[in-house]
């Protein structure tokens, strides 16, 4: 309860962006309950059923109840992409909408109105919007997390082996090199062969053997030497390159390599977005590396991964959160532009970008431009504002 109160206190400190984001999160989680053409609860002849849980494949139209049925429908009684044949061809929210009841065409009752209009196929814009923002938020958050992970690993390594760091013994580097070479060899020559897994096993065994031998049994002087790895320089140059290539071009090029799917979008976004994270983590870690408490932790036995997670991460986390939120916002914008251009997600999935792209077909459909745009802009804006205010709140 205390943690809940603390969270509430922090949310209050941050103000409206926190509440807006909370509402968006609620909408995203509850989308199937909010917009669904299947009923949530159906009571027929005393039997309860939950049609919305059935997947599209196993869902069958329910039989008609003899003594009338009771039930609870979703607030928006339409699913994404399901076409309402009475209101096809871009129906405006203020226009007269039609409804078919018992085979007769009547005026649209309030309950079934398309509050935000329909598109070409007559699918409800509000439902499309809810589901579209659900997918794009999922993709962007996942991509931001993956790119944070990627950036954390690379940035940490860069800072750790950066200027003024310890040299690495050849006893470690040489077996590593050998392992890399062997792996390359196996991937090159044994891919598609029946001996592939044997070969990989063989390579791993050989590498482990090389490690054991070099660490324990070799005492030649030239192997006991150590060199410093220019990992930091390499990281900086690669980061420079990535910031020089326009992200849109990189994303387009990568999305041409992969088949369109949700996961390929995640991969593409995180491959093109790790640089900022990596830079931040590198800067933070190289600052923390010099601090005396890290020295003390190292002396008391913390190493590598545990040192990073237990000692450094709590100090890096606030600035990481800020850049994570920025990256989620950026990913959302990029994902939307990508699906606007017709790449990334497979075409049958409607997202905010592809909804706006429909407006290019028919200029009079202002509702296809205004609502998705404001919806997306508000989300991105509140992400920006949240991180800005959070940064001001954070002690450091």
């Amino acid at each position: 309860m205390n943690a809940f109160r603390q969270g509430l206190y922090k949310m209050n400190k941050i103000g409206w962006p926190a509440w807006v984001l909370l509402v968006y999160m609620g909408l995203v989680v509850l989308t199937p309950l909010l917009a669904n053409e299947k009923k949530l609860i159906r009571i027929c002849e005393g039997k309860w059923s939950f049609p919305f849980l059935a997947s599209a494949r196993e869902y069958a139209e329910p039989e008609v109840c003899k003594d009338g049925e009771l039930g609870l429908a979703a607030p928006v009684p339409y699913s994404p992409g399901s076409s309402d044949t009475m209101n096809m061809q871009f129906c405006s929210p203020f226009e007269k909408q039609l409804f078919s009841r018992n085979g007769k065409v009547v005026d649209m009752p309030m309950r079934y109105r398309h509050w935000l209009g329909t598109d070409m196929q007559g699918s409800d814009l509000l439902a499309d919007l809810l589901y579209g923002s659900r997918i794009s938020l999922f993709v962007s958050v996942l991509a931001a997390l993956v790119s944070w992970l990627l950036g954390a690993v690379l940035g940490f390594l860069a800072a750790w082996f950066g200027p003024g760091s310890r040299k690495v013994s050849l006893k470690i580097i040489l077996p590593l090199l050998l392992g890399g070479l062997l792996l390359w060899h196996v991937l090159n020559n044994f891919y598609n062969e029946s001996a592939f897994y044997t070969a990989i096993l063989f390579a791993v065994l050989l590498t482990v053997l090389a490690f054991i031998v070099s660490l324990n049994f070799i005492h030649w002087r030239w192997v006991s030497g150590s060199i410093s790895i220019p990992l930091d320089t390499a990281f900086l140059r690669i980061a420079e390159l990535f910031s020089a290539i326009p992200r849109v071009v990189l994303v387009l090029a990568l999305s041409a390599v992969f088949e369109p799917s949700i996961w390929s979008v995640v991969v593409v976004l995180s491959l093109s977005g790790w640089v900022d994270m990596g830079r931040l983590i590198r800067a933070e870690v190289s600052g923390l590396k010099e601090r005396s408490y890290i020295e003390a932790a190292r002396l008391s036995g913390y190493r590598g991964f545990r040192l990073f997670t237990k000692q450094m991460l709590p100090n890096i986390w606030p600035s990481s959160l800020v850049i994570l939120l920025y990256s989620v916002a950026g990913n959302m914008a990029i994902e939307a532009s990508l699906s606007f251009m017709g790449f990334g997600l497979p075409p049958q999935i409607k997202t905010i970008g592809s909804i706006v792209a429909d407006a290019k077909i028919y200029y009079e459909a202002w509702w296809l431009v205004v609502f998705p745009g404001l919806w997306l802009s508000l989300l991105i804006f509140s992400l920006f504002e949240f991180s800005r205010r959070y940064r001001r709140l954070a002690p450091d």
């Binding site: 001996a195 420079e240 745009g373 920006f384």
Partner: protein, 460 residues
Amino acid sequence: MKDNLIRKLARAVIALVLLIVVAFVLSRSIPGDPAQRMMHVPNSSQAASSSGRLLHYEKLYRDMGLHLPVFYVSMSSLAVPDSFRHFPDKRFSRQLCRLAYWSGNPEKSLEWCRNHLSYANAELNLGVAHSGAEMAEKMEVFSRLNPAGGSRAQKMISDWRQLQESQPKTHWKAWIPVLNFNRENQFHLWFFGDKSVADDRSGRGVLYGDLGNSWVRGMRVTDMLKFPFLLTFMIASLVLLICFPLSLLTGAWMARNRNNHITKATYAFLVFLYAVPTFWLGTALLVFLASPQWLNWFPTSSPVLLSDAGLMAWFGSVFHQWNHFVIPVIAVAYSTYVYLVQMTYELLQEELDKPYVTALRAKGCRENTIVFRHALKNCLSPLIVSTMSVFPLLMGGTIIVDFLFSMPGLGSLLSGACEQKDFPVISGALLLCGLVSILSFYLTDLLNSSAGFDSAKDQV
């Protein structure tokens, strides 16, 4: 100073090399067979018969250098030379490799495959076998079942016996890795060009400004990219030229009246504007300002640019159709403008809290003079750096807007190329955009250090 310049140049060169490597990797990481794709280029497949098509395919395969290893260094094993993996016929290649792994005798395997493989595939369906051992098993069964086959089969079986007995028990050879150093390889061909076939049309290599031929249209990529890239670059630089002074003025004005309510409201509005995605604002402007249903101020059609009559004619056609470019420029410009205004405002606020400003105020200096003469001048260096770092972002925005307004810019070209998986065009565009950004970064660095702005904290 001189040392510093050399270091900066070295950094730019390293970034360029990395860029070239990325573009090359991208151009080779293709799902599918490039030569197969080239077969469908309209003016290159005249041969109608299947054997003619096969010959044509093999010629294309060799011309594109696909029979060569990918890079200067490659790795193979003692049993299988690198060249075995690069035969035009993928299935032949795969089977040959399997046989060579199994037998450990590359020369004999190649000879046997050359002479008998197609016959064996047709006769006893050898292609089903998934390893050398399986192939051997199938051959064994076949030889036992047909002790007195035709002379063709006898020849095949006797050659097989020879292959088996020539060097038995050499399976270990497959496990010994061999490093090859290839003087001729795909990267060399791509980057330095092929001297034997080079003319002024093709095959000159990236170093001499030839990005290869498109897989879809068969044109030279440089010809396809020239004017679209020029258009995109022109729009991006125009936007930068407009935005920089405007945003300096706005930011300075906001910092001058920083406790004003109007300033606060403006700032909030600008932050909101920054959150608006480019593609959406572009569409909204297109729908509301350009379509005949709403305000019909600007044309919705894409401009028709003359790309056959030389550079000046092209410029002329751009200039005459200026009204096509108004909305695109606004749609690209606003986010850069907002970013720069925010940057200026924050930097100036920090600057105005410094003691020398208090001293100037005490001296009786006017507030305008303090802000515009003294403080702004001190902020100029980081502002220039951040302006140039926006440039790649700006190119990206321009590409989206290009696509939106279906202008003959990089965006339309790139989206078409991505749809058809035309990788030479994609990697060429990537290379050009990166090149421009790296050069602009380098020039900014140079400019800053020659103006004496260069400070120790810039040295990352």
